[in-house]
Amino acid sequence: MPNKKMDRRGFLVSAAAVLAAPAVLRAQQVPAKPDRLIVNASGGDMGNAVLDAYGQVFTERTGIPVEMTSPHDLGKLRAMVESGNVEWDVTEISGDDGRIAVERGLLEPIDESIVDLSAYPAEARDPYLLTTSVYSTVLAYRSDVFTDAKPRTWADFWDVEAFPGRRSLGGGPEDNLEFALLADGVQLAELYPLDVDRAFRKLDEIRPHITAWWDSGAQHVQMLVDQEVVLSSAWNGRIFNAVGKGHPLEISWDGSSLHRAYFAIPRGAPNLHWSQQFLAAMTDPQAQATFANQLVSPGLNPRAAEYVDPTLAPYLPTTPENMQVSFWQDDLWWSQHMAEIKNRWQRWILG
């Protein structure tokens, strides 16, 4: 194991731990420290940002190095918990996956004596799932193709006369059913419970214009950049990064779908106390700001806003203006209807 070797960083970390010794002595019942903490999350930019933002704060506080693994996978979580062989100390488990994990009893409760949630808005507090950041599925388009009239709403996305061109949407029913209903005139506040029949009828209209149903964040960016498509649903952080690299892309927040990224502790995690400590580090406002600055995906600690780069404000899904035209995806509703709708979606895709 490379982690067991005492490299320079390891030395600095141990030195920091020695300096922090008085704090450690105060809490004498603290369980033994593991040689590292395994944190599992989506790979790529997300994993790097978790390590840079939260991993650093956690290691500074505890002296325990953090190792990232990926991807997050509900099936693997269940297999680990049920076989009693839990490898992850903390894992991302976002959206309806998180709800299903709670319902199946796959998670440890959050210890609020360690993870201070008092500053969090009430609707963001959950006994098992820590909302660490918010991201949004937005409408993205080529700004060099749509120079005069710009597509703004999902009704525009569906309007192939006014906004001609090839399109892409995500490869599953989540978000797509909502976008179809918005395109069909349903109001943001009246989306849930979803009228599934109506949504599929509306999806029938757009199907011939969809080049591909994207499978990953990397794929929708690549298709927009290559002009494989000129309009696509997309994750706000990915488009922000692509724009930063000089690609002519723009987004519209109108009808965007807000998602909570959840982190949680698998039931039976081997270093429970330190897992809770990691979640505590994830509520740190400065760490949340570091994360937000990298992925334009802010946390819910209200004090984090003080530290976020002010020039990024228009790109954050959580500004009051952007929130006003967005909806929170109801992951509880999805977790209850997932099996049935997934089956119908696959049938529809092949149909």
Partner: protein, 290 residues
């Protein structure tokens, strides 16, 4: 029948005679280490999987898999893609293997390197490379449009053809190498003798060369077919979310819907289908071989 053919052939060689004198019991003993390892790491989980698929003693998952037109269609589509990919691989691989077997040793080594080259990079990276090559504004469509061959870009990916192309590219080496090996083993003197006796080139190929390389074709076809059945990344990315294969279905059931008995039943079905296909290929090629 095949076993008697094997022993009589083996008995002609000194090593074979030596082995034949050992009692069958003692040679079975040689299988023990492999059997123990495979038994623990392969058969036990497979039995576990089969048990999971009839969780609670019900054949419900199987009824669901074979009774729902969706799943029957996905299984059918999976077999169709695997079969077409195997066919195309064979058509491409046979002449290539023949060239490799008959060319100079130096060129042969170069060809072997080129054939094996794709193994050294990740399949994910290669699949993304295909997306860049085959897209509407990809290199191939650009070339065709710029030279006036076509006016509108061809839909080369995000459909079944894209999945087949990606699969063929990925699996071609698995077809080339066994056929090449079989061709290298063919005794050239047989062909010379046939020629001396006045057999035409076509006759020499169909009566001697092809039958002698059938074993390689069988091995290659079996490998490619089985790997194509279990392809996952290629259909997910090059199919544009439109081509659903059995593995994508199993993944959805395992990781998103958490219906494990159903996922296990689908896995058992595809396993049984694979064994049947494998046996058919074996019967078709081995009988002629002996």
């Amino acid at each position: 029948m095949t076993s008697t053919a094997f022993t009589s052939a083996a008995a002609e060689r000194p090593f074979g005679r030596m082995m034949a004198s050992a009692t069958p019991g003692r040679s079975l003993l040689l299988l023990l280490p492999a059997f123990l390892v495979l038994g623990v790491i392969l058969f036990m989980p497979l039995l576990d999987l089969a048990a999971l698929s009839i969780d609670g003693g019900s054949f419900g998952p199987y009824v669901k898999a074979l009774g729902d037109p969706l799943y029957v269609r996905v299984i059918g589509q999976t077999f169709q893609i695997a079969l077409i990919s195997t066919g195309i691989c064979l058509i491409l691989a046979y002449p290539l293997a023949y060239f490799m077997a008959t060319t100079s040793p130096r060129l042969r080594i170069l060809c072997l390197l080129l054939v094996a080259l794709p193994f050294w990079t990740s399949v994910l990276v290669r699949t993304y490379a295909w997306m860049v090559l085959l897209g509407r504004n990809g290199i191939i469509n650009r070339l065709l449009i710029d030279n006036g061959f076509i006016a509108e870009p061809l839909p080369l990916i995000y459909n079944k053809a894209g999945v087949i192309l990606g699969t063929v590219y990925y699996l071609l080496p698995f077809m080339v190498l066994p056929i090449f090996a079989a061709m290298m083993r063919v005794d050239r003197q047989l062909l010379l003798a046939a020629e001396g006796l006045g057999a035409s080139a076509v006759r020499r190929f169909f009566s001697i060369f092809l039958p002698l390389t059938l074993g390689g074709i069988g091995a290659g076809a079996a490998l490619v077919f089985i790997l194509a059945l279990s392809a996952f990344i290629t259909p997910a990315l090059l199919g544009g979310g439109r081509v659903i294969m059995i593995t994508n279905l199993i993944y959805t059931q395992v990781s998103q819907v958490l219906d494990w008995p159903f996922a296990a039943a689908l896995s058992v079905l595809i396993l049984v289908a694979t064994i049947v296909a494998y046996s058919c290929i074996g019967l078709l090629t081995r009988r002629r071989w002996n």
